[in-house]
């Protein structure tokens, strides 16, 4: 009995130490990346690791709000983050970002000029464009036999239980605001109240509020219409599925830009800049755009995909026309009005 217990404990210790040892070789530089789900080609990460010897740790978040909350909690150390426009505005105001040394990012010249010096980062010192797109309606042509051109379709009884909305505060409240003809950055409490009532009215028809689940649910035919970001529809298209279409409604919508930023707390700024430079290489940007589905701000990658697939030039999801873009607005930081939006969003979710 004594011998067996000693043997058992020794085995346990050996087993435990074998488990712990692999975690001990921490000499290589590790880059901690915080990104949206399914938003970067894993092959590119491997390629980067092979080319530079820098290991990459990828953490995922669902929405900007999740990401900001995690950052504010503290106790994290990320080197590259992928926030959206209005969030970058807030992060700059709160002095959370490091100024990027563009001499380390020569590939920045490949980025189209219309993506530089945008309103959220006017001097373009803190962010590097990554993907851009719109918010619109994704629908299944086999389940929807009418023309889809307005946000109104999301409030139609005949699609009850087959409508998916985004579990993202700004995007969903933005949809209601646009349907009412207001701005997506509306701060007037009366108008926001109207939007809230509209969304509460819609609730019984909504299957659920999701983010990443929407893609699978649409492909499986679990739902007929969904609000989603443009690239998600392109992603489905690149997978060869023909019956899911995307359109930006005539009332207008949201135009967004996701960028790469480096938080001030990063300990590996040079390596982070190396990574950003790597992602801007036209070959890599092309591969990434094809895998993720979203549209790259790197002109060469954007045009190459269009040349190889001429039909996407007419798609709202890939190449929205000037007409469409004119009716779209970029989110701006709500600042002190955020609690108002928070409260409305909670009231809608809690019914």
């Amino acid at each position: 009995m004594k011998r067996t217990s000693i043997l058992l404990i020794t085995c346990l210790f050996i087993f435990a130490s074998l488990l712990v040892l692999p975690g001990c070789k921490q000499d290589k530089v590790v880059l901690n990346i915080y990104n949206w789900g399914e938003y970067i080609d894993p092959e590119l990460l491997e390629k980067f690791e092979k080319e530079t010897g820098i290991k990459i740790n990828l953490d995922l978040f669902e929405t900007n709000e999740h990401m900001l909350a995690k950052l504010e909690t503290g106790g994290t150390q990320y080197d590259v983050i992928f926030p959206s426009d209005y969030v970058i505005e807030e992060m700059i105001k709160k002095d959370l970002l490091a100024k990027i040394d563009f001499s380390n990012i020569p590939n920045f010249r490949y980025v189209g000029d219309r993506f530089k010096n945008l309103n959220y980062d006017p001097t373009n010192e803190y962010s590097v464009p990554y993907f851009w797109g719109t918010v619109g309606i994704m629908y299944n042509t086999e389940m929807v036999d009418e023309e889809v051109d307005s946000w109104d379709i999301l409030w139609k009884e005949k699609y009850a239980g087959k409508i998916l909305m985004l579990d993202s505060m700004r995007d969903t409240i933005g949809v209601a605001l646009k349907k009412l003809g207001y701005s997506v950055n509306e701060t007037d409490p009366g108008r926001l109240e109207e939007a809230k009532q509209l969304l509460i009215q819609q609730r019984p028809l909504v299957n659920g509020y999701y983010v990443d689940e929407i893609k699978d649910m649409m492909i499986n035919g679990d739902a007929a219409i969904a609000v989603n970001w443009s690239g998600a529809a392109m992603d489905i298209y690149w997978e060869g599925i023909e019956n899911i279409r995307f359109v930006v409604p005539k009332e207008g919508s949201n135009l967004w830009f996701d960028c790469m930023v480096i938080p001030k707390t990063s300990q590996h700024k040079k390596e982070a800049e190396m990574f950003i430079n790597f992602m801007l290489d036209p070959e890599n940007a092309y591969q990434n755009s094809l895998y993720v589905g979203y549209v790259s701000p790197v002109t060469e990658a954007f045009e190459r995909l269009m040349q190889e697939n001429p039909e996407v030039a007419d798609m709202d999801a890939y190449n929205p026309s000037e007409e469409v873009l004119d009716k779209c607005e970029v989110f701006i930081d709500l600042g002190d009005n955020r609690p108002l939006y928070n409260r409305i969003w909670t009231e809608i979710k809690v019914q």
């Binding site: 929405t63 709000e65 999740h66 900001l68 909350a69 995690k70 504010e72 909690t73 503290g74 239980g161 579990d167 505060m169 609730r203 909504v206 299957n207 659920g208 509020y209 999701y210 499986n220 035919g221 679990d222 739902a223 928070n342 909670t346 009231e347 979710k349 809690v350």
Partner: protein, 281 residues
């Protein structure tokens, strides 16, 4: 020897203060302050977070959580008690195997079990495919409240059965025989003898089901489609999305107090019944 032995516990007392008492005090502290949590100097005393909870909207959430938890607990009790009874009457040879197979789902990861349920309940999942195949109309229960309740029952049923079974298996057989000898038939024996003796087990089971059911956020998140917000979801959101630590802390303290009160009520019931149920006649 006794005094020397006490020293063995002192390190743990320190540990408990650091990791059990202090964290709860911190949560209490955040619940009664407002301001930026990253900037301690901006914090000021305020009961705003608590008064905010009294908004009808949040009271509804609390009520919904209790409602769903009570329904699930009741179903677990109604479905689970017979199971415990039946297993306890199984022949000794098979009893262990049956019990073991009953325990297997508990040992499987809780998230995996919930995900499994998601899989078969989804609009194009297994159950609906089966129904369509049989020519029946498909079920529309997921996502929704019914799915959440089903998920709770599914996850927590074994936790109701186990305590009841444990108590049942400890009942002295001779007591049952005595009752029968005195002329009681099976039903009367059950109501007057077995049931009262199993009350501690029932209380245990109710506690082990009700508490996680009322505070869950996983089941309501995955099976509710973001539409069924329970108090657990509300708390989780304050910390992961809304960045309102003060409100989240207040909600946590309220949840904690409600649970402690429920448990106090439970143990009172147990005490009262313990005195009344012990003498059989």
């Amino acid at each position: 020897m006794k005094n020397r032995a006490r020293i063995l516990a002192y390190p743990y007392i320190v540990w408990m203060i650091i990791f059990i008492v202090v964290p709860l005090l911190l949560v209490l502290f955040y619940s009664v302050t407002e301001g930026n949590i990253n900037d301690p100097s901006s914090l000021s005393f305020s009961l705003k977070s608590y008064t905010r909870v009294f908004d009808i909207m949040y009271l509804n959430v609390i009520w919904k959580s209790f409602k769903l938890a009570i329904i699930s607990t009741l179903f677990c009790l109604i479905l689970g008690y017979p199971v415990a009874l039946i297993i306890s009457t199984v022949k000794a040879r098979y009893k262990n195997i049956v019990l073991m197979f009953f325990l297997v789902p508990i040992w499987m990861n809780f998230l995996l079990r919930t995900y499994a349920w998601m899989s078969i309940l989804s609009p194009n999942g297994f159950i609906n495919r089966l129904l369509t195949f049989l020519g029946l109309p498909p079920l529309q229960i997921m996502p929704g409240q019914t799915a959440v309740i089903l998920g709770m029952i599914y996850n927590f049923l074994p936790f109701m059965v186990l305590p009841i079974y444990t108590v049942l298996s400890k009942i002295d057989k001779s007591v049952l025989e005595a009752a029968m000898d005195l002329g009681a038939n099976k039903i009367v024996t059950f109501i007057k003898v077995i049931l009262p003796l199993t009350v501690p087990g029932i209380i245990s089971g109710i506690t082990m089901v009700f508490m996680p059911a009322v505070s869950t956020f996983v089941i309501s998140q995955l099976l509710g489609g973001g539409k069924e917000l329970l108090i657990g979801n509300l708390i989780e959101q304050q910390f992961t999305v809304q960045r309102d630590w003060h409100f989240g802390s207040a909600l946590s303290i309220i949840l904690m107090i409600m649970i402690l009160i429920s448990m106090a009520i439970m143990s009172k019931v147990e005490k009262d019944d313990g005195n009344g149920g012990a003498p059989i006649w």
